[in-house]
């Protein structure tokens, strides 16, 4: 029962972390390696607005997320757009940006155990013999809410449909009057805000530390690769697979192995089936 409950919570957290990455990659084919950095940025922004400037908690969360979205859009508009299509340069450039942000925070003194956000709802309950706090339950709810919202957004709103059109066939989308550069910026802003959302939802469960940025990046990549890069449905399924695998190994072998599972998942998927469980890329494009 422990495994079932905490596995679900862990899986939903993973899905939240990965959705932003999957969205950006799916639409603009940019592997956004600054994803983890944006996650941490939102955490610290929320903290500074809430604790530093003394704003309302909900207001500071909203502001921090908007701001992160803006940062993502600026990163794309001024740097990544120039190397678009050159996969390796994209990775190196975005990774460098992420590294600069994260290590900049470390240099700026944002380290240690002092930075925490309060949970949305205090208290806990006993669910089928297992104690669970309300915040973790809320995480699951928000996770499902986000997935449902994304699905509705990409199927019924104009911008969402435009994004999906670009992901499927960029030339056809261009021909129908969809500005692909603008849409890529929108996608990046959206992906950054999703990273921010996962940060404000998940960070109250622990401290805000710079190292989280790297862990989140690895886990997001793991989920996206196992699910197939660019496939949102695959990402959600993969989040559940990896999430449960992690909890099972943690219960049986120890907490050290949590990251090992994610890394192993990446390596095995890439070696055996690079397009992932639900990837749509042609086999020939990615391996000889």
């Amino acid at each position: 029962m422990d495994i079932l409950i905490y596995g679900t919570i862990n899986s939903v957290s993973l899905a939240l972390m990965a959705l932003g990455f999957a969205l950006v990659y799916g639409i603009s084919r940019v592997a956004n390696f600054a994803h983890g950095a944006l996650y941490v940025v939102t955490g610290f922004l929320t903290w500074s607005l809430f604790k530093g400037a003394g704003l309302n908690y909900a207001l500071s969360i909203a502001l921090a997320m908007l701001f992160t979205g803006l940062i993502g859009a600026l990163i794309y508009q001024f740097f990544l757009i120039r190397v678009r299509g050159m996969a390796i340069s994209e990775i190196i450039a975005s990774y460098a940006i992420g590294l600069a942000i994260l290590e900049g925070f470390r240099w700026g003194g944002f380290k240690g155990m002092t930075y925490t956000l309060p949970p949305f709802v205090e208290g806990s309950m006993v669910l089928a013999g297992t104690p669970v706090d309300y915040h973790r339950l809320l995480v699951v709810l928000i996770g499902f809410g986000v997935v449902a919202f994304l699905w509705a957004f990409t199927h019924y709103s104009r911008i969402g449909l435009a994004l999906r059109g670009m992901a499927q066939d960029e030339r056809a989308a261009l021909m129908l009057g969809i500005d692909s550069d603008l849409m890529a910026v929108v996608a990046m802003a959206f992906g950054s805000m999703l990273a921010g959302l996962s940060a404000v939802v998940l960070l109250p469960l622990g401290n805000i530390v710079v190292e989280k940025g790297y862990d989140v990046l690895i886990q997001a990549i793991a989920v996206c690769i196992v699910g197939g890069l660019g496939s949102w449905f695959g990402a959600v399924v993969a989040a559940f697979i990896i999430g449960f695998a992690q909890i099972v190994t943690v219960v049986w072998w120890g907490a050290h192995f949590q990251m090992v599972v994610a890394l192993l998942a990446i390596i095995f998927t890439l070696v055996l089936r690079p397009s992932g469980l639900f990837g749509r890329q042609k086999e020939l494009e990615e391996r000889v």
Binding site: F79, R82, A96, I267
Partner: protein, 337 residues
Amino acid sequence: MSDEQRRKERLDRGIKIRSDSLYAIMSWRELAYLTAPRFLLIAGILLLPLLVPGMYWQRVVSVVCIYALLALSFDLMAHYVGLVSLGGAFFIGTGGYISAMLNTSLGVPPLLAIFIAALLGGVICTVLLLPCLPLRGVYFAIVTLMYPLFLARVIEALDIFGGTDGIMGVESFPNRWVEQYFVIAMVLLFLFGLRRLVNTDLGLVLRAVMDNDQAVKASGMSVALFKGLAVFIASGIGCLAGACIVHIYMWSGISLFALDFSILPIAATVIGGGGTLVGPVIGCFILVPVSELLREFGTLRIVCYSIILMAFVVFRSEGIMNYGRRKYHQFERWVKV
């Protein structure tokens, strides 16, 4: 007319054309034109340990050479075989741990242990990377980025090879001059060795693997074999660098798998100019001292070199060496269109 258009025309210098073939030996000027840059580089690197002030900067020169070896191996894989490896730390760690274990448990002297570690590490890395070799582009890059992280976590989780404490008491080089000139000799050896190698038939096949692997297959050659060979050479060089650093610091631990070893060589290659082999070495000689100067600012140096890296990738992707080579061999002028 105001809407007159100009374009920049680039022409080879006369002396370049004269010194392209056998005529190079017809006068001292042509000979000097060809050899001066190479001679300058070799003499500069050889004299460096004597010129720098104090032991601290001599140690920095050794570290520069370690990174230069790594950058060479990255450049070979990325620009001559088309395998962009983000896992320099993987090679460093493998070579380092092998050399440290040979030295501490079997008592092999450092200079011998380094060479055994290079060969053995090369074989191990190649075997471990073998399943990923068919991958291309982003996929190979991500998988190689994960390898060092994975090994570090495994060592931490299973508590093998000294666990988080690492292996202590590794023997150092006989004295610091041996250390300095050993690593410098290795850099020069591999720099000019690789330059030779990429101009042989093997180099041609490797570049063909990068540009058009179907054509290589159609010519009846095994793509996997040549990729494996290139990875063996590159990882051997990386492991050699790792083995050296273990004997310089007299310690081997998880920090050998740190991201520094993966990022800095790439930054050096991008700055120095990819595909030139000399460029990455020059890039290291610029980047590592800069990051040493910034050491007192802590992690600010990582911020610094990631910003430099990003700026070069996005705005000046040709790098110093390609730029310099163009200026050296060609002159430019504006012509009317």
